[in-house]
Point group: C2
């Protein structure tokens, strides 16, 4: 008898966050679930790894079809440690999320949710990151779960190419209009700091800011603004192949004396 | 009179590390330098940002042509805060490094050195990350400085395309054979954890492991192994354009009921 698919689940909001628990609930009939997630919030941890101190983990719960661990590390540490030391076989899928907050455009470079997704992909696991663009308390994960479950079912049948992972964002509307496959929007944050003071009167800076991105009919921020969920296929290989030949020619013209 | 180029320098080994200080020393005749770097080691911080607590900075030194700041944040925080609140004009160039340790292949996804480089590029600054593949204490940064200086001179004249940054790695040989423009090697780390125990007998895990990468005549790890420095042009936009159309077709065939 073929064993059930093994699905590794992690996030960056921590193991007790609503998003990861609602995700697990809606995926539990699709496979054997192992939740291995940070013991608290790790938002904005990107692909950070813990190398200067050791990490550890605890088993929180084990029941039919689902095992839950809490880990002291980053989202990437969670994926690495689960694959290296916990799981007895390679996962059929990694799902990271559901993040409470959007990870469109350049957020892919800051997000711990996507950091974990990148790591799964590097380790050869079909990987999907799921984020909801609603930051409010008590926001409903319902649309996200429906979309996430459909995609997971699909990915268990048809894997993305090696070295490619998927970034799903779902807007905060009661009725999402549908799903659009998109490119990453060209964007950046502006007005990024709020200056304040600590208790000794020393200036301190809180990260804030707004994402500014260029509208484009095919990009993720435009799809989300129009009420669609966005799905961006992303690559581990970030080489700018289009610029390589030009850069080669330029490097030939400069003298590098060693 | 045209003002001197403004060069923003940061790293992930901290403001007092040898690599950043040797880099500044060899670049000081090329422009006005602002060093804005973490107050201690931030290796493996990738593109992490600090959002749950505020950050702060101190002016350490101001002399002719060079100002040095120390910041409590990550490498990306340093770039953001310097550009948002410190500099009175946009930098002509960002240089991150010299990192003590290589950042070839998939290390681009974990490295704080490259995290800062990515951030510079997102903010529209021509950006270069420099790493030396020698982890030993007292390793010489000489070859790195010579190559780095040549590239910086070049980049002040000819910028890479918007959205593209450069990743320079220099091997630990007394005589580097030359510079090769490369693609990012397809790789992953293996055997990533050393199990140990804390003082209470609880198992803890130290990140370790070896980078395994596929040899390819054009990739960075092969160039470094052959004694060359490697220069990889990298993109902020990680969209897998080649897979978009196939993914669109597949998404049309699955039912997503919302």
């Amino acid at each position: 008898m073929k064993s059930k698919p093994l699905i590794l689940i992690t996030n960056d909001d921590g193991v007790s966050a609503a998003g990861i628990n609602e995700l697990a609930e809606c995926l539990k009939t699709l496979g054997e679930l192992v939740i291995f997630a940070p013991d608290g919030p790790r938002s904005g941890m990107s692909g950070a790894i813990t190398s200067l101190i050791p990490i550890s983990y605890s088993l929180l719960e084990k029941k039919e079809g689902m095992t839950v661990y809490s880990c002291t590390g980053t989202p990437v540490d969670c994926v690495k440690l689960a694959v290296n030391d916990i799981l007895d076989r390679a996962p059929d899928l990694l799902v990271s999320g559901i993040n409470h907050g959007g990870n469109m455009s350049v957020c892919v470079h800051y997000s711990g949710t996507l950091g974990a997704t990148v790591e799964g992909c590097i380790l050869g696991i079909p990987s999907l990151g799921i984020s909801m663009t609603d930051y409010t308390d008590g926001a409903s994960f319902e649309d996200c779960c429906i979309l996430g479950r459909s995609l997971v079912q699909h990915l268990l049948e048809e894997k993305p190419p090696k070295g490619t992972y998927l970034n799903l964002n779902v807007p905060n509307l009661r009725q999402v209009k549908g799903l659009r496959v998109c490119r990453q929007a060209d964007g950046r944050f502006i007005n990024e700091y709020m200056r304040s003071e600590n208790a000794c009167g020393v200036p301190v800076y809180w990260l804030t800011g707004s994402l500014y991105s260029k509208p484009h009919p095919e990009n993720d921020t435009s799809a989300l603004d129009a009420g669609y969920a966005s799905l961006v296929p992303c690559k581990i290989d970030v080489t700018d192949y289009g610029y390589m030949e030009e850069l080669k020619r330029m490097m030939e013209t400069i003298t590098i004396k060693i």
